[in-house]
Every structure is written in C-alpha cells, then in structure tokens.
Symmetry: C2
Subunit: 438 residues, 2 copies
C-alpha cells in the first residue's frame, strides 16, 4: 500500500502531485459559501454566530453562552491529569524560552549631517487565535499561537474554538490557554469565527491579526479577510519528508510517517532513502503499525494517496528533491545531518538525526509547530513573535542634510512627474525651519 | 475645498470614512475579472499576455518582444540626465546601506543534554517585482523593491512593468533596474503580469515572491495568487497624516499634503493640529499651490474627497487619532517630535520634525517606501529584506534528552489522540539509536 518508487523521473512527478494535492477545483465552490458566511456575520453579528454554530456544529448556543465563563475555566484544571499539566508547563517553558531569542528590538542610528534613521517595533493591539476542534483537541496549538503573541507584548489575546457536545470545550485546551495567560475564550469555530475576529460583533472584539490552523473553510475565510486584518499563513494539510540512510531504524521511520498520516486523510508522508533495504522494511512496518491503529481508516487513506517511498541515488539527490518539494517538516534521519543541512534551501522545520522525531518539535522543543505547508516553505517561515509585531521606520533629516541631498530628491521627483514632492523640498530649502535639532 | 473640522466626534467619523475609502463593493465585481485573467494566463501562457496587453494597454507585443533586450537597456543610460543618474545612485547607496542593517542571521544554540536549537535563514530562489507604469514612471519603486531582494541574497530577480507607446519602457526605470542589478525585465503589467509571475509562462519564469504596488487589478491578483506565492502586502492608495504645531510652516505642510494627493484621486492627506491659525493658513496655501499644479484635476479630487484638517485639543489627542487611523506615512511637524513618538503605536513610517518632508523617505533616506496602507499599519510593516528571506527551525535532540522529556511528549500526544506521535517517541526510547552526537 505504501509505494516504493525507484525511478527518479516518476518520483519527481509523484512529489509534484503530492505537493499540489489541494486542487483549486475543490476550493472554488467553497469560496462563495465562505464569502456569504463572512457577509452574514458582518451584518448580523452574534446572531449569525449562534445560527451557524447550530447549523454546522449542531450545538445550541445563546449570545450569553458564547464566552467561556470563569467557573468552566477553573473546572478545567480538575479535569486534566497531573502528568498532562506538567507536560503543558514544560512545553510552555521551552516554547517561551525559544521565542524570547532574538526578539526584534527598536534601534536608531545617527548619521552625518544630523540624519537619524531607525526602526521602532511595536506589538499589535489585539490578537485573535483560532484553535481547531474537530478530529482532536489541540492544547499544543494554543501554546504555539498564544506564547509568541504574549512574548511579542500583545496586551489582548482572544481565542476562538468550536464547541463540542453540550457546548463543552476540551479541558486540556482551556488549561493550556490559561497557562499561556488567555482567559478571553469564545466557543465558535469555522469561517464564522474568523468573521467575528475580523469584523467584531457585540460580544467578540475585532482583532488586528488572526493566527491558527483550521479546515478549508477557516483557511479560505482567513484569505478573504486578509488585508482587513493580518494573518499568519494559509495552512494546508500537514506533511513530512524524511531523508534516511541505512543506519535509520525502520520502526522509528514508520512511526514518524504514520504520525503525519494520522492527522488528516490529506496529510502526506514521504521517505527518501538511498537504501532499498530500508525502504522495504519501512513499507512492511508501516503495514504492521497500521493494523492496530485507532485511527486506521483515516491514516490508511493518507498513506495510500499521499504516502511514498523514493529510493534515490544519494543523500544529495534526496536533498535536491526535498528543496523542490519544500516540505513543512523535514527529518534528516541520517548519521551526519549537519553535513547535509547546508544543502537544504526550503523547509519549515528540520529535525536533525536519529533521536529527533517530529513529535519533539510538535510539542515541546521550543520552536513553533505552525509551519508553512504545500510548498510555502519556498517563501514563508514558522509563526513567531514577528507575526504579532510590526515596525515603523523613523526618519529625521536636518536642514543641512536636506540642503545636501535636496537636489537628488528633486531630480527623482521630477523624473516621476510629481511636482509637489519636489516643492515640499524646494520650499523648505527656500525657507528653512528656524529650529534645528542638534 | 479643504475642510477644517474642529469637532472631535465629527473628525473621528471623517477619519474612519477616509480610512475605509476602498469599499468592498467597488472590489467585488473586479474580482471575477481578475480571476478570469489569472486562469487564462495559466492556461494560455504568453499568448494571453500578448492578448491582454493589446486589450488593456493598447500596445502590440509579440512573444519575442516581451523581454526587454540588451540594446534597449544600454540605450536607456543615454536617455537620462547626469543629474538623475547621480540621484538614482545616491538613493541606491543609501537604501542599500539601510537595508543591510540588522539583516537576519542564522544561529544555533546549544542546550543541556545535547539539545541543539536554531534558525537557519535562506533567501527565496526567485523574486518577481511589479513596477507600475500608468500615471507616472517610478524608478524609485524599482530601487525600493529590488535592493531588499538583492541584499537578501536572491539570485534571480524578475521585473515586470507595463509598456507605453511603441512598447517603450521609461528609461529611468530601466536605468534604476540595472543599477540595482536587474536585467531580466518583461514589458507586461496588470493582473496578467501577476499571473505570469505566479504560474510562469514559456517566457517568464514562475517566482516565489511577488512584490510591488499596482492598481486595484494588480492588488486583487496578488491577493488571489497569495498562497501559491508569497506577496509583500495589498497596497491601497497612498496616504499621509501630518501632526503639526504652530511652529510649522504652512507652505511646507501644504506642499506635503499635495505631494500625497498628486499620486491618485483616492490618495488621502490629513492634517491634525492644535493651531486654528495654522489650519486656516494651510487651507489657503493648498488652494494657491493647486492653482498652477500640472496635475490639478486629479489632485483637487483627492483633496476634496480625502483631504481634511482637524483642529484638535492637543498633540496627544492628535497622536491618539493617528493611532486609530494607523497611517502609511506620519509626519510629526512639531518642535519636539521625539517626545511625541513614544505615543505612536501604528504607522508605516514616521517623519520627524520640520525638515523631513515625506519625499525624503519616498526617494532617498534609505528606509523602504513600500508601506502598509488603509490601516494595515496596525499589523504590518514596510517591505524589507525579510520579505525575501525565510527561516527553517533547527531541532536536534539526543537520546538523553528524549529520555528526559519523552514522557511529556507522550502525555501531550495522548491528550490529542495522536497515537503514532506517541509511538514515534516510545519506539525510540525502547530501542535508542546506537549513534550519539556529542
């Protein structure tokens, strides 16, 4: 079921097919649906949220029960094990530590002629975080979105997540949110939740940036509101590409591939290796591990359609194919990963060596697990504090500097036919300001 | 014609109206047009580019004349004055110098238990730059887009710009491109040019990131291809908000307002001042300066619809209103701009003091002039080297680290119902890799 392809040209075609597995055709008819949901929420506000939640999630809400209340937040701590709470706290600590590294800092630079240039970094005012419900509950998503916003200095963080039966939100999600310092949580999901965050309703405040993964409706809604608000990225289904040598353990590789596939029937799991023997062992072990998998149907589907083992001439060829694919997750399950990493140009996150399964980064190592998918690693990066911070350029010229560079500005303004641009300089040269700043 | 509003509540409403001047309604029917252009170029390639250029630009092209040839590039240098060439070179030097500051650098960090974490920065492979034609020729746009890409280390930069009569491209644009190191230039504009860059044609290569401003069709096309490629931002019409005290020169302020208005009938020019006397003088001088303006009609239109003077109680109130507006350009035409700047939370670029007209930053100071518009400064920043660079997270765990943190990973994986995630750790703990990296 997990195909082994030894032919480079066929392999390349298959990788292209997998990278492009989200077809434009599947999307087009959903765009109109999403547009209508956005417009309805914009017009009707909370009422539309209640309506859509009944329709899509089969949950009865009222405007009063939209927001998760304090007693439910408190109760969540009683519903998670000590072991899980400890795990959430360790993950929190390490994610926060990593995201504090190289936080952008404002700077100014003093140049000749009293020219001052700089960048001033400021956080957004309000951030909105989408946490999916659906197939599983994702406390890790909460941490990976909320912590960068907190570290960036965002003062108001709003979380939305679809409710389950009896309006309940998964307690691990509520605990993770509180550990990250979020207590403004609304039980609404889907495109309607994105609309609420983008436009605001009587209950839910409009935000400046929306982050977090979701299904295709959530993603399309984020794309449509982009411009009105900032967004992190357009998340597609997850994917891993593993480059392994003959020293890799086939059981480990098989588990890593299934760990991707178990997310979503559209998830992709690819192994590239120079070792035919490893390829054959992995294909066999995948079948074994699938046999008793609690999500067997879904996982099998992903492996059958978007699982692949390519047997390649060398690790260098594998690196080249990986660059063409630009995977979200790249595992270098090889003896000397630091030798190969210099050949990697595009990958969301790179997992180095035999002891670093992707799960390490999904949960606990510290780097963000929200990563570019579907080839977007060619141009995009992990979510980070930068997602919640922007800068203003600072420019100060003195009369002296303006006198020295004024002619150049006026020449360019004239070349562009912009006469008032020129005059804004000319008039200052003719009647310089009487105050100087030095 | 340039209204003075002394009433805070009315002023706030007017600022909101101006910020939202691009109405969703104006856009919707253009989206379908753009979608069709994109699909046609994707299907027909170069043929569609020739077709649309004839239809929209009234210029006859052939596939062979799409690319600007070497002799035309050479000849451009003969057609610009020495003064303009010097200005382009000074601007180039200062823009390059500014963009080299704080270029992101790859790093790794060694933690206890042989855990290695880091970020590896790499440029995109191919960048596409859109340079508008239309109302004016913009050599400054070339510099402001190409230099960050060059500084980022992008090895292939492709420029597109709509042709004028006889297929000609403005020589100042061609010179600026060559000074910035670009010689791959195609004469095509509009949504069709964005489609060519996103999907590639037989002649024009597909790129990873598209930057540069354009009209509404270009902007909508960029939004639609976002996800397939990266983009810089969705540029709306330009705007300036000026905060001035009674020490400001009304002639200078008037020229700065007209310098914004002369771009586009949708451009916005706003003055906020505590001085009624300054307000009245500026309103009068604007009329004077308009009288002989070579683009009077267009400029007048912008001033009439989206020009505004607000008389406010204090500079602090002005700063607050500016934060609500989140202007692309903010001028602090006041005696002590460094005192007020700490109150500014959202602005694309801030021009400090009486001797820093926006034109300084538009052309020559060094910071980028491609800035967030229409309130996007709430969450977005200037174009920069970051637009052309992305990073991969690096994660390496050792068997020891995995043993110590494995339980936490497994607890989180189980809470999320992801059994193979758990097993990818469990199997490694049961059969640790025999090779260690320390």
């Amino acid at each position: 079921m997990l195909r082994i392809i030894p032919q480079l040209s066929e392999l390349r075609l298959e990788l292209r097919r997998i990278c492009d597995r989200i077809q434009q055709n599947d999307i087009v008819h959903k765009e109109a649906t999403v547009q209508q949901i956005l417009q309805t929420v914009q017009r009707q506000g909370d009422r539309a949220l209640v309506h859509y939640t009944a329709e899509f999630d089969q949950v009865d809400l009222t405007v009063e029960t939209l927001r998760v209340k304090g007693d439910e937040l408190d109760a969540a701590y009683q519903q998670v094990s000590k072991e899980l709470l400890d795990a959430i706290r360790l993950a929190h600590k390490q994610i926060e530590h990593f995201h504090r590294q190289h936080l952008p800092k404002s700077w100014v630079q003093f140049n000749p002629d009293q020219v001052v240039l700089g960048k001033r970094y400021t956080p957004v005012d309000v951030a909105g975080i989408y946490v999916p419900g659906g197939r599983a509950a994702y406390p890790s998503t909460v941490l990976m979105n909320a912590i960068p916003a907190k570290v960036a200095g965002v003062s108001q963080i709003v979380m939305v997540t679809p409710p389950g039966q009896n309006r309940a939100i998964n307690p691990a999600v509520l605990v993770a949110a509180q550990e990250a310092g979020i207590d403004e949580i609304y039980r609404v999901g889907g495109a309607q939740a994105i609309a609420a965050l983008a436009y605001g309703t009587a209950t839910i405040p409009a935000v400046d940036v929306i982050t977090g993964p979701g299904n295709i409706y959530v993603t399309l809604a984020k794309k449509q509101v982009f411009g009105k608000v900032g967004i992190d990225s357009l998340a597609g289904p997850s994917e891993v590409l593993i480059i392994a040598d003959e020293g890799a353990n086939p059981c480990h590789i098989a588990a890593d591939m299934l760990a991707q596939a178990e997310h979503d029937p559209l998830a992709a799991a690819i192994l590239l290796t120079p070792s035919l023997s490893l390829a054959e062992q992995v294909a066999a072990v995948v079948l074994d591990q699938l046999a008793e998998h609690p999500r067997r149907l879904l996982t099998e589907k992903a492996i059958a359609h978007y699982g692949l083992i390519g047997v390649v001439e060398s690790l260098e060829v594998a690196a080249q194919l990986s660059n063409e694919f630009a995977p979200e997750h790249l595992e270098l399950e090889i003896e000397t990963p630091w030798d190969l990493v210099d050949q990697i140009r595009h990958a969301g996150a790179i997992f180095m060596g035999y002891s670093t399964p992707e799960a390490v980064g999904d949960y606990i190592a510290g780097p963000n697990h929200t990563l570019p998918t579907s080839g977007a690693a060619r141009y995009a990066s992990a979510l980070g504090v930068e997602t919640f911070i922007k800068h203003s350029s600072l420019i100060q010229y003195s009369p002296t500097a303006l006198r020295k560079q004024g002619n150049a500005i006026m020449a360019l303004a004239e070349a562009e036919g912009l006469i008032s641009h020129r005059d804004s300089v000319r008039l200052r040269l003719e009647a310089p300001p009487t105050i100087d700043y030095d």
